[in-house]
Symmetry: C2
Subunit: 108 residues, 2 copies
């Protein structure tokens, strides 16, 4: 999968994995990897800046903790993030319809 493809689609995906329960960065990476069937292996240079961006925008809130001597910053969805996630899902459906309307991916 090309890197560019992710542009503009990563944010809702991150919000989606922290929706059911707050997670720290590393766990978010693992959740994305798992939910994507091993396809979405984000470099830390992508994920961590994205998390800070989402927090700055008010969609996530974070809190430090220490577990087994390791420092974790755990992120949870805010109510603004909840709304953003919902509209992100909606936008995805629109986007998918647009691409498939043009691409007709059935005919290889």
């Amino acid at each position: 999968m090309k890197a560019d493809a992710l542009r503009g689609h990563l944010d809702p995906m991150i919000l989606a994995v922290v929706e059911p329960e707050p997670l720290h960065g590393y766990a978010i990476m693992e959740a994305l990897l798992e939910r994507s069937g091993g396809e979405l292996d984000l470099p830390t240079g992508t994920l961590y800046p994205a998390l800070r961006r989402l927090e700055r925008a008010g969609y996530l809130a974070s809190e430090w903790s220490t577990v087994g001597g390791r420092k974790r910053r755990t992120y949870q969805l805010t109510s603004a993030g909840q709304k953003m996630l919902a509209s992100g899902k909606q936008e995805w459906l629109t986007f998918r319809a647009v691409v498939e309307g043009v691409l007709r991916p059935g005919q290889a």
Copy 2:
């Protein structure tokens, strides 16, 4: 639809609309608009550079003509473009599976 969302997905869409028949730039814009149900209204500053890029890459070939006093540059798919389109469709299916695996868009 956000601008970024298109990143990396536009190329195969352009190739797809010129697949059945060669089209000139303006007609490609109209075809995209029509196939997308009016959603994909590309600015010329996006389309024309993209066409040149695709030609430089060998996926499209172009030819000038004049119709009704207006100059047109008509693009057609090359065989490399044909292959690129096929793999682009395949990549789209992968990408879609990744996003939907993470997003579970059913649950709004």
